[in-house]
Symmetry: C2
Subunit: 380 residues, 2 copies
């Protein structure tokens, strides 16, 4: 049996790390491997959705028909309710590497990134559909793991799985999730509402998910002996938080709730999936404004900064362009300043300027740099 | 320049068929090829969605934010309206072969199969999101073609494209479309409402899309010279209808409209995507009934039957298990018989029986066969 390194991240065990990845798969398959072909498409869907129960009262009819049926008229102030819809496609080899992303975490993340988009509209996610393309190397047990992660995320965020599609794939794993949510019209926050002098705020910290990815990549290579010495277990100790940020991000429902409680409605908002620079430039472009943000105001995690130094990376660049933090970036009226201060885990990083000024980063020594949307360019 | 066989199917030209497929691609690329990497993800999305306009009054905010926003309260009898949601994932090499499926047709079909699911609930499709995974062999022009097909389908069926996701793919093309629709609660038709003695009806004809696929496959091989003699052009003449059924199916909006006009509400309904046998067994299982259908009542296209004979296939088996016809299969009360008769293109093929009787096919000579859900098994 191969030598496993077992790591627990908030209740989700990572068993994937072992010195011999092939051996890991052999081991898993000896444990139990049911070929998907023994079930067929309908069998697999029925198996995966067998005991799905609905949490949302708006779910009238879940999986098992040509379409799911939702009744949003049961919501309070039904006439003001709007339906939000967002979708994300994750492809193996592009968005995730199964050498170190456990399937349960992957499922969790695939669902949460969609919820994050709905919260970024100041809405509440309510239903998702899940489509999976599955190649022959995956067993029924593998897909159960993936689905368990999706279900866990749905339980935590009170979202119903109401349908989907399952198909063979010639190569690798494809996950397409579409999420529906609701919001009262007056509560919805778009990207185009930022105005001159608005405060620019961000939740949590930035660049941490990216440093988690760098750590995973470094250790993956180390375990293969590619740094000269063959390492037996990955050097993760004390850095579990970085891994968690990469492998099991959360959507900031707590932030939108806290803002509502404090009586603050952001003027513009989006979630940080592609990187702060890229997202800020979206808000400024759509709002026809510029912005100034301050290097020394960027919230950066200490462990992330430590690892960046160790790896000879500039943590500010990571914070600006890293992406996948799924924090909320928003602007709000300067008069909300007093209400904003008592809220935990929100950081004011700058303010909105005239469009002609452009999008700028003010360095620690007062130097001025133009922001660039390096972002996450899948096609490069 | 390679020798093209140009075929027009209801205004969509098929240019793909030529004796040398590689030459076709070279030719297309000499014409114009813009690498997607020159645009990046955001550039491509902006390019594809640049002049999308909304037809549906319920579309409040389309692409360009974290999520689309829909207002279904503008619909008549808003309190009775329900939201329907369905999704389909199409993967290259599993669901389509680009050697003979033109990208524009593929886009059209990918959208229509989702609309078909909404009509099968007796609803009206209103919005879709489109996610694409695109490998490096596709150019911007290729994706424009695909998108043109999706847009054409959306125009014809009055559906808005309200968002999506575009990403690189390591291998091939992945298309994930999610469709939202609406229906008044009292109008929705589920799969589980069939009852004893109900009539079983189907629209159009069955097995034709499958025969179209057989024809495409046969000619693909013939053009490669694999039947001994190298053929220069595909033998499609007079059989365009079969190709159309496979490459450019339509959703039967006309049938649900005709039924509504005639005052008929089906007791159960679904669309025929996996094959008649498979779908009938779904309805019977969910309705806790059995069924008898009659071989001589199955609507079969003459050209499809002719080709089946030529290819030594049993057309009844094709009609029962072929799939992809996207016709509507429904049951209705026997008292609706008189109202049903005047409606064009609907065929009564049998009736609902006790569950204990099972699902049966009555042959031309009175022989009785149990239906089997051969369907379309992607995992086999």
């Amino acid at each position: 049996m191969p030598n496993f390194s077992t790591i627990y991240i908030k209740g989700l065990c990572i068993l994937h790390f072992c010195s011999n990845f092939a051996a890991y798969y052999v081991f898993m398959n000896i444990m139990k491997r049911t070929e998907i072909s023994t079930m067929g498409e309908f069998g697999l869907i029925e198996h995966l959705t067998r005991d799905l129960s609905s949490i949302q009262p708006s779910t009238q009819k879940s999986a098992g028909d040509d379409a799911a049926v939702m009744n949003y008229n049961l919501l309070p102030s039904a006439e003001k309710q709007r339906v939000l819809m967002t979708t994300d496609l994750l492809l193996e080899g592009v968005h995730f590497n199964l050498e170190y992303v456990p399937l349960k975490h992957l499922g969790y993340k695939a669902a949460v990134v969609n919820f994050s988009d709905i919260y970024a509209m100041n809405g509440t996610p309510t239903q998702i559909t899940v489509s999976l393309g599955i190649s022959a190397r995956f067993s029924v047990e593998d897909i159960e793991e993936l689905y368990a992660g999706i279900r866990l995320a749905c339980e935590r965020y009170k979202v119903d799985i109401v349908g989907g599609d399952t198909s063979a794939s010639m190569t690798g794993l494809a996950i397409s999730i579409t999420c529906i949510g609701t919001a009262k019209d007056e509560d919805i926050v778009y990207r185009n509402g930022a105005k001159l002098n608005d405060l620019i705020c961000v939740s949590g910290n930035l660049g941490t998910a990216y440093m988690g990815l760098q750590l995973l990549e470094r250790e993956r290579i180390a375990l293969k002996g590619n740094y000269g010495v063959k390492q037996e277990i990955p050097a993760f100790e004390g850095r579990e938080y970085l891994l968690e940020r990469q492998l099991k991000p959360e959507a900031r429902r707590d932030i939108t709730e806290a803002l509502r409680k404090a009586g603050i409605k952001p003027t513009a908002m989006m979630d940080v999936s592609d990187g702060l620079s890229s997202e800020l430039m979206h808000i400024c472009k759509q709002s026809a404004t510029g912005c100034d943000i301050y290097e020394d105001k960027l919230p950066i995690d200490f462990k992330a900064a430590q690892l960046a130094e160790e790896m000879n990376l500039n943590i500010v660049t990571c914070a600006l362009n890293g992406g996948e933090d799924y924090e909320l970036l928003f602007t709000c009226d300067i008069h909300d300043y007093e209400k904003l201060i008592p809220i935990d885990d929100i950081y004011i990083i700058g303010h909105i300027t005239e469009q002609s000024q452009g999008c700028r980063l003010i360095g620690r020594n007062g130097e001025v740099l133009n922001l660039q949307a390096q972002g996450w360019q899948a096609f490069k």
